[in-house]
Symmetry: C2
Subunit: 380 residues, 2 copies
């Protein structure tokens, strides 16, 4: 996929991944690019997150991004902080910018020192081009496929998103990294607030196993090279790209065989709708029922009940794969036919709470024996 | 197990359970018995919970308890409320008290009307005795064993606990019901507050799959028949009984092969210690690691990090099966030996946060292919 104007990217294999697959990704953007940054709230946040937060406090622009996969450089103490700074310096040297112009990200195993020397040796092999595909592959850990999405705005400005998701065959590689790149010229003042809105309704609505990583981040980068755009259309495009990436991450969750989509309408407000949707998508019981093609609406009801969203059990409606199964009480349905309909790659739940105008979506995946196997049968 | 003075109990099979096993349990206590009641916060709470809450608002004493298992009488609409009232009337008639003297509880499948007629036909078969064992068996759903615990106070007053846990081979039988019975004479004024303290540090610290049931309740009943006791010793005995039941419930979680115990000390306060312990015990990743005998401390660290408890990753200590594995950073340990030590029936994690004097415990179970199978392979 072609990068927006003003961006180049590339990748290399630095042997951090035992497989020898690409594990070093670099991205360069023309000077003066604006950024918006959100990262994990986990208290055990990795050095790259601590550094990124500090950088975001003092800089409104950024020029480069370096990601290594295979090692999260987390719980690595003072050495971890130094290694992360060194990673920024190496990337800055290669990109021809200052270390303070470069955001770092690491994803992979926790508690193992980052082998920076390997990155130093291999970084010269990176070739920056106008394509994002090499970058998209090099940030993966146990994901089974790259995650990309794009939109073009009237006038030609583009929004391109790339992410990695939630595979974890090696311990604790659950990190979500998401980057949305655009050449649109955007209003710096509203950048952070609008990005937070997008992230809250997309990436923060993905749940694979309820475990919040130490290294998560979602970053928006705007080069401005394609000039001004209509803000409404622009943010709609950013949201669409982020939403597609969120869906791709959920569908590629560990051991996942199906994507679960939950849409909630009629909530007291959007926040309650999102909480309700997320509770259903994160329920181990509902995830297991989806895996078994079991149209067991009781599990949806239970999850809605503890989500914190207000509703009246006597007015609630639940639709599963386009079939109404609950309206203020059990509705008779053909269980065999509905179970067959659940064998699709995407299982859709729609909930109407009848409390207000709040709407929200969430995405997850089924809970499979594969998930347990992947996470249990690894021995350190 | 013998009941405390002032109590009698019995059970019968009313054919609500297709297996024909006992599914109707009754308990009688002498007039004037004090009670303390806590129930689920789930918005889809069942009629028995709605009725119990209302009863607790207006009555400080109670004379009887009826539990049916196999049907939760939840999401059954107006009919469910009527059926629950009828259940109370039937029990009151049998026990020779008024319906308002009887607390009801139902546990089992959601969304199916309660077959009250079956209970009406079979209630006469109940025989009240001084033993609790029949009651303990009749409240089970897919639990694999009864859950009982007792303590005797100096002077002879007794505290006897009975509970059912979190099996769920049929949809949504995750309910926890716990009853602690005593013949001690207790102070009515402090009953509710002390019971809440006990429940918060015991039953509320159990997690099998993070799904909060619609029918949960924890009730303390005090007949007073054995006279006054030392309040300190009494509440310690109640806590010990509740804690033992909590451990039994966790160990008998769905598909569970191991009990996981997490103790947190050095938290800023007890609340943070409990949150931290509960986050670890509820982490799907750590539960799967325990199943695979993988001493993967990164997953403990990640869960502590998102628990909300304050700590410094550079001072934190983690001990697993008596082996120090993290002290402000990775500590070298014999992975093979520790993996072998994790093959025990109980896996113990101890965490020191070095923030204050807060302490807390939590109990859970490993995540197994069995859990997924049980919950996925059922077809409605």
């Amino acid at each position: 996929m072609r990068l927006p104007e003003g961006f180049t990217a590339g990748a290399a294999a630095s042997s951090i991944k035992p497989s020898g697959r690409p594990d070093l990704a670099l991205l360069k953007v023309e000077p003066g690019a604006l950024w918006a940054y959100l990262a994990t709230t986990n208290r055990a946040a990795a050095p790259c997150v601590l550094r990124g937060r500090a950088l975001y406090q003092k800089r409104k622009t950024i020029s480069g991004l370096v990601v290594n996969s295979g090692n999260a450089n987390c719980a690595t103490g003072e050495r971890g902080m130094r290694d992360d700074a060194r990673l920024a310096e190496l990337a800055a040297g290669f990109l021809g910018v200052r270390a303070d112009d470069v955001l770092t990200a690491s994803t992979g195993v926790i508690g193992v020192p980052l082998p920076v020397a390997k990155i130093e040796e291999s970084i010269a092999a990176v070739e920056l081009t106008g394509e994002i595909d090499g970058f998209a592959e090099a940030i993966l850990t146990t994901d089974t496929r790259v995650k990309l999405s794009e939109r073009t705005l009237p006038g030609g400005a583009r929004v391109v998103g790339v992410a990695k998701g939630s595979g974890m065959i090696h311990p604790d590689m659950a990190t979500m990294l998401a980057y949305v790149l655009t050449d649109a010229r955007v209003d710096a003042g509203e950048l952070h607030g609008r990005w937070r809105e997008v992230v809250n309704s997309t990436f923060n609505q993905v749940s694979v196993d309820r475990d919040t990583s130490t290294n998560d981040m979602a970053v928006l980068l705007a080069s401005g090279a394609a000039g001004a755009v209509d803000p409404g259309a622009f943010w709609e495009a950013v949201r669409a790209v982020a939403r597609e990436l969120a869906r791709q991450i959920a569908a590629d969750g560990e051991g996942a065989e199906k994507l679960i989509t939950v849409r909630v309408s009629g909530a007291a407000d959007d926040g309650e709708a999102r909480r309700a949707a997320r509770a259903v998508v994160a329920s181990s019981l509902w995830k297991a029922a989806v895996h078994g093609n079991d149209p067991n609406w009781g599990r949806i009801l239970v999850a809605l009940g503890y989500s914190g969203a207000r509703f009246d059990i006597g007015r609630l409606e639940i639709v599963l794969q386009d079939t109404l199964i609950y309206r203020g009480g059990a509705v008779p349905f053909n269980g065999v036919a509905l179970s067959q309909a659940m064998q699709a790659g995407e299982v859709r739940v729609e909930v109407e709470l009848h409390e207000g105008a709040g709407r929200g979506e969430a995405w997850g995946c089924d809970l499979t024996e594969g998930y347990v196997k992947i996470n249990a049968e690894y021995t350190t």
